[in-house]
């Protein structure tokens, strides 16, 4: 099949043989940058990170959060879909029956091991109830110990101000029986 070919010119004339013209052209560009930046900081791209933050798009995948229904209860129905689709196998769910029959199932414990998570967003796509989202926009996730990276259900769920339609406040969410701090991670090796 025909395609156009372009030979790269590596010619080297007198202009290159003398060192000065090449350096002069380079100096022209660096000086242009220098004088534009030293006076007015026109082209400077760096930002002062802790004070200013880089604008992120809405699709930016950051820290997870568990969304809530209007009546204050978690949207998640513990269907284990995100747990099976997660490539890093870092989500652990234990489902439980809720005393109120109108609520089918809810996650007694919903833990994400953020150290293992690869932030691929497959769990958000797989969730049939839009219960888990990654749009909290939290850029810096730095904590002091490994255990604090095992986000439990209560850490992940949204903050929620109860309004007139609220039926269940946070107190109604029964705690899992033994809330160990260090959950075994996905490979069954207990985190230290």
């Amino acid at each position: 099949m025909k395609f156009k070919v372009k030979k790269v010119d590596r010619s080297e004339g007198l202009k290159e043989a003398l060192y000065i013209p090449g350096i002069a052209v380079g100096l022209k560009h660096t000086m242009r940058h220098f004088f534009r930046n030293i006076i007015g900081k026109k082209d400077v791209v760096t930002i002062q990170y802790p004070e200013e933050e880089r604008p992120i798009s809405q699709r930016w995948r950051g820290r997870h959060r568990l969304t809530r229904r209007d009546d204050g209860f978690l949207k998640c129905v513990a269907c284990y879909m995100c747990e099976t689709v997660c490539p890093a196998k870092c989500i652990h769910i234990e489902a439980g029956e809720h005393p109120d029959f109108s609520v089918e199932k809810y996650p007694v414990s919903f833990d994400i091991d953020e150290l293992r998570c690869v932030f691929c967003g497959l769990c958000v796509e797989a969730c049939p109830k839009q219960a888990i989202r990654m749009d909290t926009g939290v850029i810096g996730m730095a904590y002091h110990s490994r255990e604090s990276f095992n986000f439990t259900r209560d850490l992940l769920r949204d903050a929620y101000t109860p309004n007139e339609k609220t039926k269940y406040t946070d107190a109604d969410l029964p705690k899992p029986p033994d809330q160990q701090s260090a959950l075994p991670n996905s490979r069954g090796i207990p985190a230290l």
Binding site: Y19, I20, I23, G26, L27, H29, T30, M31, H33, F34, N37, I38, K41, D43, V44, V45, T46, Q48
Partner: protein, 356 residues
């Protein structure tokens, strides 16, 4: 009061004061200032902001506190000697390079003479030959550091530094032959005096205009002498990590660094003196009635501003030009700079004979 004036008139005291003034109030501050300015100016070239984080309380300045921060850091950093290093040579190597960087200021005049008082530490008759002697001593700093620190990369850096500095001293000397012929002597004050006249009252007789080729070769040789910009194969940080001072840390390492930055200021001051008229302010002779203190102030500020401009130019070159490979540095030196320097000497001689 009378006692004090008498004390000041003593020649010995004047020399000590001159040394203290030129070293402590001119060379060292400018050198340390250059450590910060290199990072700030290179940031400007590369569309960054440069260091501005060091702060006392909330005062951050525009990064000026980084000079103090670097100094304190290097004092408190651990200063270790690698296993198997030759302790004695390892410890004295930094002093050689520091000494050769500082000694350059001995013969540089920073302002015009008032009566018989010269703003110059010494005005020895073979002025510039003293410079060549001192810079050749600087080779010991790099070579001893490289050879004594028991590391292959340092060994590479040391051998490269020795070959490069020794061969570039030759072009250093040769490129100034033309200058000596034009101004008739190697004494620095006579050269600077010579640069005071003007052709047709308009163009000042600076070294740059009388010796353009000599200036180019001299400037290149001096950059190679201080192992900076395109000639920093001895500290080739991409292939031999950090060259001869790879095993240094703490105060010893920072003395190498400080030596390098003071050498920048030294190079800039030397070139200003020899090629940009030192303290000679152009067209100042028209204004006879100027008071003496104003003339000295003008001369000193002209000298300092030109030194700063040349420091800036060296740093600008550093961040523009890629690095030579080591054998290309030597090829450039011996195959290109040597003929150019000799040609320059011959041409200057012919012109002088023709004009005279």
């Amino acid at each position: 009061m009378q006692l004090v004036l008498e004390f000041l008139a003593l020649p010995f005291v004047q020399d000590v004061l001159k040394i203290l003034f030129i070293l402590l109030l001119f060379a060292m501050p400018l050198g340390t200032f250059m450590t910060l300015m290199e990072r700030k100016w290179s940031a400007a070239v590369q569309d960054r902001i440069g260091p501005n984080r060091a702060n006392i309380g909330s005062y951050r300045g525009r990064g000026l506190l980084h000079i103090a921060a670097d100094a304190l850091k290097s004092i408190f950093k651990e200063d270790l000697i690698p296993k198997g290093a030759d302790k004695f040579l390892y410890t004295i190597a930094p002093f050689f390079s520091f000494m050769s960087a500082v000694a350059v200021f001995a013969i540089i005049p920073i302002a015009g003479p008032i009566g018989d008082f010269k703003f110059q530490v010494t005005d020895v008759q073979p002025g510039l030959l003293f410079i060549f002697a001192i810079t050749s001593l600087g080779v010991y700093g790099a070579v001893l550091a490289g050879a004594s620190s028991n590391s292959k990369f340092a060994l590479f850096g040391g051998t490269r530094a020795s070959a490069q500095m020794i061969s570039y001293e030759v072009f250093l000397g040769l490129s100034l032959m033309g200058l000596f012929m034009v101004y008739g002597s190697t004494q620095v004050s006579i050269i600077v005096e010579g640069q005071g006249e003007h052709w047709f009252g308009l163009i000042p007789k600076w070294g740059v205009f009388t010796q353009p080729l000599g200036f180019v070769v001299f400037f290149t040789a001096l950059i190679a002498e201080t192992k900076r910009a395109p000639f920093d194969a001895p500290e080739g940080e991409s292939e031999i990590v950090a060259g001869y001072f790879v095993e240094y840390s703490g105060m010893r390492w920072s003395s190498f660094m400080l030596a390098e930055y003071i050498a920048i200021v030294g190079v800039a001051a030397l070139i200003t003196t020899l090629f940009f008229g030192g303290y000679q302010v152009p067209w100042l002779y028209h204004w006879e009635s100027a008071p003496q203190w104003l003339v000295t102030l003008l001369q000193f500020s002209k000298f300092t501003s030109f030194t700063l401009i040349l420091c800036w130019f060296q740093i600008q070159i550093r961040w523009t030009v890629p690095k030579f490979r080591f054998d290309q540095t030597m090829a450039l030196g011996w195959k290109k700079l040597l003929p150019v320097a000799l040609l320059n000497t011959v041409v200057t001689a012919i012109i002088i004979v023709a004009l005279a």
